[in-house]
Amino acid sequence: CTDKFDEINTDPNQATEQQWDPNFFLPNAQNNYVNLGYDQMLYQGPMLQVLASTFTYYGNGDKYVNTQNSTSYQGAIFNRTYSTGTTLAEMIRLSKDKPQYANLYQIGRILQAMNVLRGTDTYGDIPYTQAFQAKAGTTAPKYDTQQSIYTALLKEIDEATAALDVNQAAPTGDMIYSRLSSSTAKMTAWKKFGYSLMLRTAMRLIKVDAATAKTYAEKAIAGGVFTSNDDNAYIQADANYAASGIYNVYQVTDDYRELRFAKTFIDALKSTSDPRLSAVAEVPQTGAANNANKTLSGDNTAASQLGLPNGYDLASGATDIRKSAGYPGPSPAANDKDSDAPLGKYSRPRISVYLKKNGTMMVLSYAEVEFLLAEAKVRGWNVSGTAADHYKNGIVAAMTSLIQLDASAEIKAEAAQTWAAAHPLDVTSTDASLKAINTQFWLATGTMFNFIEAWSNWRRTGYPVLTPINYPGNVTGSTIPRRMIYLSTEISTNPTSYTEAVNRLSGGDLLTSRVWWDK
């Protein structure tokens, strides 16, 4: 009478491996990888001085102080790397050696490489070769050195990209290139994506292994990288679920009220009359009520824009923004029922562009690729064209791609061309060129809210030159964090491997320690 027990103990609500199509994993993994929300808004955004805030939570990146949840936010990318990675690893396992999933399998390998790349860039040594193998019995994965991870990832990207077959069907679960019409177009774009990712990965190594960087950069270029904004890899969040992490950050009253563009960022745009200023920034309409209104657009004229300096608060003490030298005064109350808005005269990200339920989340852009090509050329590597042209292409691409965020952010190609022509690459020295290129890289990734990439590129090149904040009680000795602290649960769930990795870090598991490639 226990014949039916196997049936009873089979979950009727879920599928077994036999029923499953690994394509289902792809949207989950892609969204999980790119939809970062707070995971990059609290540290990297303000750390890179793109954003600024007087609000306590943003003290993490704005002032390098610890708040109540700092530990969680520091470990967030670690968590995300392995939750995304788990999904991808299973997708790879279930699509391997199955002809109908051949392209899915290779795309899985490429995405996994990109995912692990972000993880190692954020923390340094992390588990890679032994990761995702609990079912095979490996329950305490060793942390691989970042150097060995880079070696492996470059090889992985190389093999997988080469193996992508443009004549075979594109995976059904892909969201990144779902906007392209044909399977061939999609797979062609994926191939360019693979080589563009290889370029990004290679260029990270310039400080520690320029030879390898050069080898793979040239290989990537030869393979064919992005050639226009049409190649841009991005996902639009699902509006039905208001899935955009940035949108959800802005649903929080205090975040909306106190998160502003940083003075460093606005000044950089303003000093060169960059047309992106009006595309991305606005000053709210006057008074506290209008400042709190999430549907009321502000004034985006360039002249009105003012960045909030990092490192201030609203606590009545010495670091109160209202006591700072450049404080413009509060935005006055709109009527007698209203009150002042202390931060109301500072620029915020335009709500029509960033406060979108279906906001665009950039994974890898043509503009980034052009700046990397410009740099490679400056370094004398085998790149066709001139560094100045690539620089110009990058700027134009960065400006004209804003329309991919929202139509209201459109910058016409002519305007972009004109501005770029008026602001050519400084070729007076290698350093001057690198400074210009990577400052533009920062503006491009900053306007795209791709702060983690901006952070890695800053660590790699030293540009833009940022002045650290010195706020009382900061935990970095008044320096901008150069890595994140490992996920705290690793201490208890994987103690031996964790300790080995920490012992390899000079300075320990701190925000101020440096990853291998960031000498």
Binding site: N9, T10, F24, F25, A131, N240, Y241, G317, G477
Partner: protein
Amino acid sequence: AREMHPAFGKDREISGKVTDEKGTGLAGATISIKGTTRGTNTDADGNYRITVPNDAATLVFSYIGYVKQEVAVGSRTVINIQMALGEGALQEVVVTALGIEKDTRTLGYSVTSIDASALNQARESNVINSLQGRVAGLNISPGSGGPGSSSRINLRGVSNFKGGSPLFVINGVPMDNTTRGTAGEWGGSDNGDGISNINPDDIESMTVLKGATASALYGTRATNGVILVTTKSGKNAGLSVEYNGNLQFDKVINFTDFQYVYGQGQQGVRPADATSARNSGVYSWGEKMDGAMYTQFDGKQYAYSPVKDNIQQFYQTAPTFTNTVSASGGNEKTSFRLSMSSMDASGVMRNNTVKRKTINLNVTQKVTSKLDVTLMANYIDQQDKNRPMMSDAPLNANYGITLLASSFNQLALKPGYDPITGAEMTFSDDSYKTNPWFVVNQYKNQQDRKRLISAITGKYQFTDWLYLQGRAGYDVINDGAFSITPWGTAYQALGSMNRARSQTTELNVDGLLGLNRDIAQDLNLNVAIGGNLRKNRLESVGISGSNFSIPYLYTISNTLSRSQSYGYNERQVQSGYYTAEFDYKHILSLATTGRYDVYSTLPSANRGIFAPSVSASFVFSELLKPNAMNFGKIRASYAQTSGEAFDAYLTTQYYSLGNTYNGLPQGGFSSQMPNSNLKPYRMKEFEAGFETKFFNNRLGLDVAYFNRKTEGEIVSGPLSITTGFTSRVLNLGSTKNAGVEVLLTGTPVKTRNFTWDASFNVTYVKNTIVDIDGAGNTKILTLGTYRPLNGNVAHVKGMSAAQIMAYDFKYDAAGKMIIGSDGIPVRGDLKPMGSAIPNLYGGLNNSFSYKNFSFSFLIDYKFGAKVLSATNHYSYVDGLNKATLVGRETGVVANGVVLSADGTSSTANTKNVIAQDYYRGLITNVSKLSVFNADFIKLRQVVIGYRLPSRWFSNSKVPFESVTLSAVGRNLLVLMKHTDNFDPEAGFSSNINYAGTEGAQLPSTRTFGFTLNAKFKK
């Protein structure tokens, strides 16, 4: 003498004398009228007088140490009784596993019965809490979630990794006691458990089967012990109607003892305007309070003065009114009891109510002279409104109100929202700290439950020694839930909502063939074989939505984004069992049981398991006949019980689809790694004890030693997220509990008018987590944590369960504290600080009766536990703790050393840090400072009762037969504690994973009330 009308069934008086075995008058013997609470005692000479209602009355004569006698009155007016000494006085029958009645004196294991009177005078909205401190071995930790919240119940220690509530069996039928959710580190509300649905007025007794031998026949869920609930039933004694009314008031106790020197503000300054006031609503890092006016976050002026009574002002005095009417009666063939009860409970949180209506019916029908059929139906309709959120700050009023800055008057928070826009008025620098008055006025969190616990039992008595019993029990629970994040909430301005319905069912069908006869002179055999089929099923549907288009219209169709969920879970167990007991002259008894279970939750190869038990008892007093000793027994037993997987579907890897994303289904899988080789686990227990009674049974001692261990326990062990899973199902856990239970009972004084009964119990349990993963790789199994997240609860191999893990200071080789370059002590290792579960606990109960008055009080205590306090953590962060007064104006130079860059040399720390940064950094780095000793002794309960004189009711115009009034008080005094600013019993969850964690739960309450019991004349 009064006029007598025996023919009309009117009251008349009986008199007589009660004598002992030698013919001497017995002072203080009890005479009661059967089926009523009326009674009297004999005077110093053994004489008594009592008024009986009619000829049909039966008088019950009792005296400790003597055989109870029942005498039908008939037409007699004088009844003299000689009492017989002896064993009979102890010949109490107790209901054991499967409803088999046994003589307590021959039991080979420990069982404790609690009479209903302990449950229904001073009420707890969750009836199980009334047992706190009363039963040796039983450790109850009530939740702090308002009326009807769940409790953590441990019998004989933490019997397994999941903590394990005992199985509740109501009139022979196992009932669901699943907790409907508690708070965790990220908040939540306590939505009550199964036992909290039961109306205490319907309970006749509760019997705690502690050891594995006692509970072995219940199988898997009995590894945590069994609590048998017997509901009241009708008697063959005509119709009697009874009313019970209870009115109680809960009032919060403010345990905080904060600093009231420095007021609201940050960095040593008071807020200069509304904006900075809003940023510092929970910070008391301002200036010395001077009474001057300052601008609060609402733009209005308030005195910069201490406000000490925010807690008392914010919470209300909460009444709970319970009314129960019952009718019972019967004749030779049929007896019944029907009761209806209504509990209307208010929480101290202003918008929180729990309304519970229960109907309980119990009918026994003698179908033929051989066949009895009993029907039990217990219907519960419970409506919970706004169960309070706890732990984390969002929508949690407790959080804000406890931690308001020292000069912040909670009245400024009213009404919590802007009347025009509906937007929450935030009062701190954190949108997630919800304005407490916004919660009161706007938040909704509702549950409804409709539940029917029913059972039908048929017993066919072939002969006086052979019977067949069949039983079907069905427990069906329909739950509904509705909760919202209101329109205007600071952290989610457009709001969201969730609606869910679920049905939980448990079906038990069992049969038992029993034989009970003397098989030889003085040798009795009591044997039964049977089988059980259990089916559990849970089906749930939920729908949630966010972003309302129309403000305050909380319907799904008004949301912009929606998602839905469906859950299903089914499991089945089939079992066969036997029990056999040989009894020689009520002196020597040997018993054995065995149970074979087949579990659907396990893979086919490993599904079945047999678990035996043996026990023996020897009443040595019968042979030795010691002088002062009336009774003496030694007993010993060994038993196994088996356990199944903690959930269905743990043996296979599944894949599932979530919501679509841009039209594409999103696939994923559980982060818990399945295990296809699971097998049942075992618990083995050895128990030994003795029980003695002295001095005419006026002193009793019951001692039990137990030693139990689980092997191959099925646990969910943590994995590093880097492995591809965050946990895995293991079959390797092992938990050990060894301990001693002592129950001392006595009647120090007994005279005709005055009786003093006392009982004291103490339990010591040594609990050890023997193994977690079998290989010793996992030494720490992390469970839950408190909201500050810098400490947690964990099972640590080799230590007691539920260790509080916290960060220590860091010391150099010379033992000096290491200070960081920021001037703040450096965080050391995460260390176990002690178990969250007490290892020594019990109670002292005293009851006194004098004529019609009774008075009782209960003191209970727990020792050996630790608590991790978020209140303490926040009080440092927010500048409320008195410890933060040191260095307020001068800054703090921590006493320790700073290491050189290469770590080889050190110098004395000289860095001066401003107080606000120092204490925040300190408490964040060193969570050990938030670990407290949770020992306590409390005056748990006082009851004063008065039975109105019976002569008042002799007038036939008075409809009552008896009326009793009681005044009750619970949680009156803390006699000893070591915790600052919070109740050592406080906690936001009854789940073992959060044992010993505290923070932002409801404050503890003190309860006062009255109970009225009236019995109507027949």
